[in-house]
Symmetry: C2
Subunit: 333 residues, 2 copies
């Protein structure tokens, strides 16, 4: 059915190995022969069978990318960046969605293992122990989580939280709130610690509120608590929570940013689709996708690699949900 290397060889009157070399080691074949082979191959519509090639070379030229939820707007930019970056290096990316289910995640990794040269694990939900076991099967680079002994690409959310608090302080806010994230999450702790430190540096109070569910609804519910805490500026665990908070506050008759300033984290909306446009900490998702691909390719190219960890900078994007407080806070210095 499909045209193979043998068909081309026969049509050219050369041996299969010559045809093979024409594609995988062109410098080893006479330019004249090479051109003839290429012409015939083109004419016959020959395409190398990557799966067959993988069988002998051990290189599939594919990489896997496993994410918890494609529908989470945080991931697509990262996926796109990884794909286009990999394509430029003659690699293809197979994306798989785990539906947040660790069992599915494990199954996918095992299924992918033999068909890819390495896997990008994006915010994995698996236990460290399971990941440690699976790394026998296929090389990993982990994105957005640190697993001991594995190369990782991290985004410095702590620094982002710091920038956010400094921004509020610079605007004149002194009574700040933090809508905290899930207690178990390491990102949640990083955000809390950095925010607390930055608030202390700025001589501002920081009231921790929650944790509520890290969703729009969670933010909406937190609105009342925010009012009760009498803060004028709030940093939310993520953009969903921030957007929910804005909605909740407006339902209570509180204007953002006139009465209270709100900052999110992640920049999932990128200023679109929401009013007021959210001031937020943008994550370097595109850089993370590219970097992860580079690290993985480097890792599969060499025999041994140290567990390199790259930490990428976040950026505070100031838009319309933050402003100076109307009444100066009481405890101004």
């Amino acid at each position: 059915m499909a045209v193979t290397i043998r068909d081309v060889a026969q049509a050219c009157g050369v041996h299969v190995s010559t045809v093979s070399r024409t594609f995988s080691a062109p410098h080893l074949v006479n330019p004249e022969t090479r051109n003839r082979v290429l012409a015939v191959a083109e004419q016959l519509g020959y395409r190398p069978n990557r799966a067959a090639r993988a069988l002998t070379t051990g290189r599939t030229h594919n990489i896997g990318l496993i994410v918890a939820d494609i529908a989470n707007p945080f991931f697509p930019p990262l996926i796109k960046a990884a794909q286009s970056h990999a394509r430029q290096r003659d690699y293809h990316v197979f994306v798989a969605d785990t539906d947040e289910d660790p069992r599915v995640e494990e199954e996918l990794i095992q299924a992918l293992a033999k068909q890819v040269d390495g896997v990008l694990l994006c915010s994995p939900r698996l236990s460290n122990r399971t990941i440690d076991r699976l790394r026998e099967d296929v090389p990993f680079v982990v994105i957005n989580r640190h697993v001991k002994g594995l190369p990782a690409v991290l985004m410095d959310v702590g620094h982002g939280a710091q920038q956010a608090i400094e921004h509020l302080v610079a605007l004149g806010h002194r009574r700040l709130g933090l809508l905290s994230g899930p207690p178990g999450s390491s990102n949640s702790r990083l955000i809390h610690d950095a925010a607390a430190a930055a608030a202390a540096d700025g001589a501002a109070d920081l009231t921790v509120i929650g944790p509520n569910s890290p969703t729009e609804q969670g933010g909406q519910i937190a609105a009342a608590e925010v009012l009760a805490a009498e803060v004028t500026g709030v940093l939310a665990y993520n953009d969903l929570v921030a957007i929910g908070l804005v909605e909740g506050l407006e339902e209570l008759g509180v204007q953002v940013p006139a009465d209270i300033s709100v900052i999110g984290i992640d920049d999932i909306m990128q200023g679109r689709l929401n009013r007021p446009k959210l001031t937020t900490v943008a994550m370097p998702t595109i850089a993370a996708g590219r970097t992860a691909v580079d690290m993985l390719l480097q890792l599969v190219g060499t025999t041994d690699v140290g567990p390199a960890v790259t930490s990428l900078q976040t950026t505070l994007v100031v838009r319309d949900s933050t402003a100076a407080p109307i009444r100066l806070p009481r405890e101004v210095t």
Copy 2:
């Protein structure tokens, strides 16, 4: 490195073919032997190499899914549905994003062709002629577009537009607007024709506005035109345009839905993240993903298949952006 069928055979004292059959044709091997092989395989951590299997069987048990833009919120639910549905049938889905570039799309199809049993083409940007050429390489099912001679899964956007107009008419609106989509798009024509017919049936005027760019900004810009047209209810080409329109109208001091009702198409936000929650035509993306997988698997299973076309129903989801008009329109019957 990895444990192969030979390692298992040797450890068991049987021939490789027996091990092979244990996995691919269990009924042909003595239960006693089979259990022994399974036990040893388990203990050694043997996993079949799907790529090698594909070489002889011609079946990879993978399917490809090519979309124009993963970041477009319209696609992720479809992707997730296709993936989980395929996984239940022991197939894996490789997702690839073309960045809206037909050349990339073609390249991806060719690269994928040998590694998958079939490809789901989601809103392809390629010309019919190119698609016709590529179908020699790999079986296709097209989603969201009709290509002559190819199986397709369509979503009945015309009926959705009809429902939307009927909803506005039922609320009492008689002066309606349609924010039209790109002139070349077939969906755009389907929406226009169905909306026009439904308006005529409901004895309502339908003013076509635009086309503007099918984006949030396009909708925002159209707000002035909508006001000038003196309509009380508007159907937008998609949700992005509808959301932009709501923003544009509010900037002009017009309330939605109090002053003007707005309906979108696609249901990308699913009622989240936007005020007012948008009344919109929900596309059956989940059903489309599942159906497309089923059609593709059926297609690769048999030798010849007719170019079946499945058309899926859309649903009007009434939320908060539509209401009865305040002032009854002049030409009430």
